[in-house]
Symmetry: C2
């Protein structure tokens, strides 16, 4: 029977991506030869073992018991503090922090593999580290040497965690509406007052201190987003020797009762004259926050990949085990995995997950080569697509995971339902899909007149040519489909550019346009895999599976591009 | 602010469907002039008031508190028993039961409106009546006069409820694997032993007795589905005077801990020598169950419509109330409902819900005229499409309802999350989407060589011609889109017929084929609405909204047909 806590990291897929799909030198070129593909695979192998042994077994108890508020202090279920200590002990937190902040600075394309693994094994737990990583990036970019020494260093060591305090009841997407105030004290510190909501890991008992990064408005600051500053507000004030001292003026009012990620404490925090320290420029708070936006949003794509893969692992294990009726054209005793429609569901899931995973590696590579190869614009073009498309599709994938289980999928104890509930937050936080798509259409497509989009389409067209050079039926079919899809994407992009002067049209179809590009890039990822394996005379079983997934993706997912192009071209329906 | 318990029945839409979209005589012709459209609307108006006042306020407590098992007895939250009594008192249960069973026999096209309303106001509660209705239909078809008098009559009066006991741990979709046994007693009764799972409203305290319809295997019966018989097994044995007497040998082992419909007790029942009465023919048990299959499956489509509409009502109310940032091309103070993407989400929801609602009326009409007009084959063709497509799309619609709420959507207290969780069972029970699609492809398309499908496409083509006769831009666009969609559907149907000799191909794409037909029929429903309103010189505001929804549906949903045709034509990817 299925052991619900089992998780196996997809190291084999990463090995294929690092060694074959993107050429043999993708890791070396991204790291200026500091790492090889073998090194990267070793890192993921070790992470996978840790995640499988330590984090995955806590996933279900995190959901069932969840975070609770006891006498104003958030408590995590038994085992969470030990797991966090083990994560720190294993050096994983320092490994991912940038060198400039005192970390090991693993390349992004390896971090992106880690991001999938942490989220797949325990999404609620992984959020703790994701938020800390975001805070590290933000402080690394803007903080003074003193703040770096006192607050950043303990976070990089993993001793303290970090949070992002943006949202208030009236200020969600519209951060310009923030009302939390910061008034100057005589000693150069600031006094912070106001209420913040939806603060992920806003309070907990797994580490000794919490460094809140808080957006607030100073007296006389300009209205709107240009009057917001960023403050460091520790849960415990810091003693001269660097140890946590007395409690600061921030209280945990409540923890939210959410559909999912119960193991991640989502706090309402009340700041009542809390002592804060300005980080970065006065009125430059949003700039500080935006520093970490790319990595946080890309992180959501990795989260979508991980949670989707966990759902697939459960569904595949259940389907391989469960017998129910005779299976068409298969011997007696064949499990439900062989039923045509269950097989369809599993391939639907796995083929999209591969596309997401490859997209994550590709995006990491683009960021790693941003300076050396000028790939930043393309990386930033990918971010909203990866975040938006992957998280939206994760809803369908985790739903398909339930469907594979039939009636058992609706029963909480089965375990698959948790992923469906957990996943639902992903297209919302770190900017809803609409925010991603508006960023894509406004800042990434219209602003440069479609130049980056066009460069992407040219790259994909080059892959079509590479497919044509391979003598294999799947390569030919994939080339035909991808060629049609690129043509549809160009039409849709022309339509979006045509909406530059009627922005409601652009923003009314920006989500369909984002989804179109997601399906297209996913098809491109599969095409690269086909090029890598279809040429081999002696295809291994794993290669045969890759060809089936590519073919399946082309028929079931890439085919969406044409219909989405029709949607995009119509603009707003009014 | 939004009152989460508010529910307003869509009587206006039904009035449009009964009076305009399907012609002015649809109610009269379905009822042999026994009812007019006005009568039907009066019924729905009264039901809507009852549902809004009595059932809707219990929806959230049903979810939060749920059904609990206390000393072996399932208990519902406070208010449920009173609401059930009021439902009976109002005559609603008798109203829907067939005349042959002693009910009022409301026509199906009116019952289908009621089905939406009951499910929208309180899906968990509505299940109690849906299961009873199914049991009434099954007994009405097969039971002896004695069973009709003792068990059927109290169910039709609403005093007792009914259940369906099919599933066992090893026998879900494959009912032939049932192991529950029935051994004959000397007095002509049977002794029933075995365990049944997933029994909806299998135990409760809202009515005085429960009539379980149990599938079991008799000694020496043939293997598989042909050896299964149907038994009536009351929770309380019935005294000679017809009142409930001592407890029968059926115990409630547990109630399932489910993702949703917490207010519906899903029981594990243990039969230990319980006294049962054979209903219908020995070994003819599945036939008895299949009697109620059409209405039960159609009921799921109504459930999908209702739950989707409740999610829309919450989302629309929230979006009309919530302010967040300036809205493009709208005056200051415009709510988020005016943001292009929120408007897109709301139109995506409402345009599909209208299509579902119209499909429900159309299906009811086909059943009502089955004998008089020979429309049974077409009705049965629609059943799997309505069940499969509507329930799958309800997942997306309730998810969009969450998305409209942003971060608040993920918080349980907001209320929208319940519908997302509740909806997840709909594509599973009463036959998964794969079961629906296999029924569609195998029994409804391949068996008659595509004749019924072709007749449907001809009807839709006639509507295209009607659209061409209307001088309105939306009519013209709708005609163009629907014509292309029908052509794609014909191609896909030809492909399915071509798979008759390679059934794995047929069943590997049967769900995409079902979805294709669902999107197509939805487009047809909108087309009928366009024909009804676009010709008017003095279009009312409600008519303008219908045109926008039709146009939106064509661009955002009907456009899926072409891509699904490509999927279907490919067959199984192996």
């Amino acid at each position: 029977m299925v052991d619900a806590s089992t998780y196996t990291a997809p190291v084999e897929d990463y090995a294929f991506l690092y060694r074959e799909a993107f050429g043999a030198d993708i890791v070396a070129r991204a790291t200026a030869d500091a790492m090889t593909a073998d090194d990267a695979i070793d890192v993921l192998t070790a992470a996978g073992e840790f995640a499988g042994e330590v984090l995955a077994p806590l996933d279900q108890v995190g959901d069932r018991v969840g975070a609770t508020l006891v006498d104003g202090q958030a408590r995590l279920p038994e085992g969470f503090a030990e797991a966090y200590a083990a994560l720190v002990e294993g050096g994983w937190i320092t490994a991912e922090a940038p060198e400039s902040a005192g970390g090991d600075g693993l390349p992004t394309l390896v971090q992106n593999g880690l991001g999938e693994i942490w989220n797949a094994s325990n999404m609620a737990f992984a959020l703790c580290w994701m938020l800390t990583a975001g805070a590290i990036h933000a402080l690394d970019a803007v903080a003074s040497p003193e703040i770096r020494r006192i607050y950043l260093a303990p976070m990089v060591e993993g001793r303290w965690t970090g949070t992002m305090n943006l949202t208030e009841p009236q200020a969600g997407t519209d951060l310009g509406a923030i009302r939390t105030t910061a008034t100057p004290n005589e000693d150069g510190t600031w006094s912070i007052s106001g209420q913040k909501i939806f603060i992920t890991w806003g309070d907990h008992d797994v580490a000794e201190n919490i460094v809140h990064l808080v957006l607030a408005r100073t007296p006389g600051a300009p209205d709107g987003a240009k009057g917001i500053s960023l403050f460091v507000v520790p849960k415990f004030l810091v003693n001269p020797d660097g140890t946590p001292g007395e409690r600061n003026g921030v209280q945990t009012v409540s923890l939210e009762h959410k559909i999912g990620i119960h193991g991640s404490p989502t706090a309402v925090l009340a700041y009542e004259g809390a002592t804060g320290y300005l980080a970065g420029d006065l009125h430059g708070g949003l700039a500080g926050m935006f520093v970490m936006m790319n990595s946080a949003r890309a992180g959501m794509g990795l989260q979508a990949t991980g949670v989707s893969d966990r759902a697939l692992q459960r569904a595949a294990a259940y389907a391989a085990d469960r017998l129910q009726g005779p299976v068409l054209d298969r011997p007696a005793g064949a499990p439900i995995a062989e039923h045509p429609d269950v097989r369809r569901l599993l391939l639907s899931m796995s083929s999209e997950i591969f596309a997401m995973r490859a997209m994550g590696v590709r995006l990491g590579d683009l960021f790693d080569r941003a300076e050396s190869d000028g790939t930043l614009a393309m990386a930033e073009f990918f971010v909203p697509i990866f975040k938006g498309w992957s998280t939206e599709e994760a809803l369908r994938i985790t739903s398909e995971g339930i469907q594979v289980h039939g009636g058992m999928g609706f029963i909480e104890e089965t375990g698959i339902a948790q992923h469906y509930r957990d996943a639902r937050i992903m297209p919302i936080y770190e900017g809803t899909t609409a925010i991603q798509s508006n960023d894509l259409v406004g800042r990434k497509v219209i602003r440069d007149g479609g130049a980056t989009a066009s460069a992407l389409f040219d790259e994909i067209t080059a892959t079509v040519a590479a497919l044509r050079a391979v003598d294999h039926a799947v390569a030919t079919r994939t080339a035909d489909r991808l060629e049609r899809a690129v043509a549809a994407a160009r039409r849709a992009t022309d339509a979006v550019l045509g909406f530059a002067s009627s922005p409601r049209d652009a923003y009314a179809v920006s989500v369909p346009y984002l989804m179109l590009l997601g399906f297209l890039v996913g098809g491109w990822m599969h095409a690269l895999a086909v090029v890598a394996v279809a040429g081999h005379a002696d295809a291994a079983p794993a290669d045969a599976r890759r060809l089936i997934e590519a073919d399946f993706y082309g028929v079931h997912h890439l085919s969406r591009v044409a219909s989405l192009a029709e949607t995009v071209e119509a603009g707003e329906i009014a």
